[in-house]
């Protein structure tokens, strides 16, 4: 089961190049955007010069830290949004495309079981894509810190203090890694649902994936006048247990940044123990297991070649 996984996952990366092209493209776009912003800011006014990242005219260390952390969180968020789309489209395509082009007959002529194949796709969606996204986030942060440092140094600023001394890189990076990996695991029931649809749908898997939940939600509303089903699905997107100790209002309160916070830590706002002990974590894994088993079963028994 395990021995074939590296080859099977490598195969996924060959087929779905968007898994690494998308983060690379975002990294380039963000970097170009930062460069453009720096140039634009310099062009308009001296006061704005270097204002974006750790500039000298930001009043103090705390504000500078807040600005840099904001940049880190903001860019990570762009990657997270891309991760969501990437995962949905990858999962829906992964077991559908092989049936569409009949290559399933070749893959099944090799000594890899249906279970191994489906699990490789689940691992790719839930672990590999988030991991590559995390690397993309880190690389983007690093490149932009270097670009900004060069910019600040060229303007006479001390990058070692203004940039590198003002950001908790490891804290931010570890937080980004935790969020993307945790999101993969937390969202695994949805991934498994998409995989199931991918192996089951005769056509238009995207429609087949989203229509049943919408119809069920509508039926619930018509019959019971309640919205538990869609609310449950929607609420899961918040990953609440991971950010249990975090209040968004308080997070952005200026006072909070000043209240003796020597270091702004994103990790402080995460509750890993609460996350893995939350019933939602385990029930999600259970649903993921059931739907993955169903996907394996359908791939094994379905014969539309």
């Amino acid at each position: 089961m395990i021995a074939n996984q590296p080859a099977l996952i490598k195969r996924e990366l060959w087929e779905h190049r968007s898994i690494y092209v998308t983060p690379a493209a975002i990294a380039v776009i963000v970097t170009l955007g930062v460069l453009a912003t720096l140039m634009l800011a310099s062009g308009f006014a001296k006061e704005l010069d270097m204002a974006i990242f750790g500039a000298q005219n930001l009043a103090g260390d705390v504000e500078r830290r807040a600005a840099l952390t904001g940049f880190f969180v903001g860019t990570s968020w762009v990657f997270l949004v891309a991760l969501m789309f990437l995962t949905v489209f990858y999962s829906l395509d992964s077991l559908y495309a092989e049936r569409k082009d009949k290559s399933i007959l070749f893959w099944r002529s090799m000594p890899a079981t249906d279970a191994e194949t489906v699990i490789s796709k689940l691992l790719t969606a839930a672990i590999v894509i988030p991991a590559i996204t995390a690397v993309g986030i880190w690389a983007t942060h690093l490149v932009n810190l270097i670009v900004t440092s060069i910019w600040v140094s060229a303007k006479g600023g001390d990058a070692s203090v203004l940039i590198w001394g003002s950001v908790s890189i490891l804290d931010n990076w570890l937080a980004a890694l935790i969020v993307v990996v945790a999101s993969g695991i937390w969202m695994s029931p949805f991934i498994a649902w998409f995989l199931f649809v991918s192996t089951w749908a005769k056509r238009m898997p995207i429609l087949m994936a989203f229509m049943p939940p919408i119809i069920l939600g509508l039926l619930e509303w018509i019959v019971f006048r309640t919205q538990y089903f869609l609310t449950t699905i929607g609420d899961r997107g918040d990953m609440t247990p991971l950010f249990h100790s975090m209040s968004l209002e308080r997070f952005f309160e200026e006072e909070q940044w000043r209240d003796g916070m020597e270091n702004i830590s994103l990790l402080q706002h995460m509750d890993l123990v609460g996350f893995v002990t939350d019933p939602g974590f385990w029930s999600g894994l259970l649903v993921c297991g059931i739907l993955t088993t169903a996907a394996i079963y359908v791939r094994r028994y379905r014969d539309d070649s």
Binding site: K10, R11, W14, S103, F106, D303
Partner: protein, 285 residues
């Protein structure tokens, strides 16, 4: 003789349609068996059952494995090429070699590369850049580099021109087949493979009409080219098929000794294609 495939009362239904109907047969080591039948006869379904791609009723053992339940173990010793171009179009030649090398314990990459050197397939090409003939060459090079006990070919040369078809079978015989290996093949182009076959099996409406070695076939079936009085006498011996050509009758006999037919006309060994047509017509009467 060692039996590689052993089927006892194997059936497969698709809803109300009985695609394979209570068939029993054996395939022994070192044979090249041609499975021949019209479209919809159940050939591909039977092959899929042998390959573990579909479940079936009855007892089916391939290399001692239950093909459906032990497909992974089976696939380590069995190879197949399906009836359509099934190599993924997005993959590069080097990637497919990397993949098979990593997954298949009996694959020799150096052998595959050696075979590919004899073709026009570039190692850096993607499958979608190759012609259909080249894709088949690539697939065959991979398959021939796998040390498998049983090779299953389902219409492997469909859509290929005559040059590729001839080359395909020549490669198969010269570079692959030996007494340790067994080949099970289906094709519509019976004439092209009948000289390769050691055994032949006809299937129609899910049932086996004929299961014989090629040697036994020439003992059991005789074709007589005759006319006039000879034709009258021959007809009295109950041919299973009769055709007219250039004013002469061609009659096919089953189980009638050559001694009985001597003197009635020119005796010939029937082609597999003629025999197939006769058996199908007989079954449909």
């Amino acid at each position: 003789m060692t039996s590689l495939v052993n089927a006892r009362s194997v059936s497969k239904n698709f809803g109300a349609v009985r695609a394979v109907d209570n068939v029993s047969f054996e395939i022994e080591k070192g044979k090249i068996l041609g499975l021949i039948g019209p479209n919809g006869a159940g050939k591909t379904t039977l092959l899929k059952a042998v390959l573990g791609l579909t479940d079936c009723e009855g007892d089916l053992s391939v290399l001692g494995f239950n093909p459906f339940k032990q497909r992974k173990q089976l696939m380590q010793n069995i190879c197949f090429i399906a009836d359509v171009a099934v190599l993924p179009r997005w993959i590069k030649v080097t990637q497919i070699l990397d993949y098979v090398e990593a997954i298949h314990p009996n694959f020799s990459r150096s052998r595959a590369e050696e075979l590919l050197l004899q073709t026009n397939v570039r190692s850096d090409a993607k499958v979608k850049e190759l012609s259909k003939g080249m894709v088949t060459q690539l697939h065959l090079s991979i398959i021939m580099a796998i040390d498998a006990k049983l090779l299953v070919l389902d219409e492997p040369t469909i859509g290929l021109d005559i040059l590729f078809r001839k080359e395909f079978y020549a490669n198969l015989l010269n570079d692959y087949f030996d007494e340790e290996r067994t080949i099970l093949i289906t094709t519509h182009q019976v004439e092209e493979i009948e000289n390769l076959l050691t055994d032949v099996m006809f299937i129609n409406d899910g049932k086996i009409l004929l299961d014989s070695s090629m040697d036994a076939l020439s003992d059991t079936y005789v074709e007589v080219l005759t006319s006039g009085e000879g034709a009258q006498k021959a007809r009295g011996l109950g041919p299973i098929a009769e055709n007219q050509m250039f004013g002469k009758s061609i009659m096919l006999f089953e189980g009638v000794s050559r001694e009985h037919l001597e003197g009635l006309g020119e005796l010939r060994i029937p082609s597999v294609a003629d025999l197939f047509v006769a058996k199908i017509k007989e079954a449909r009467k």
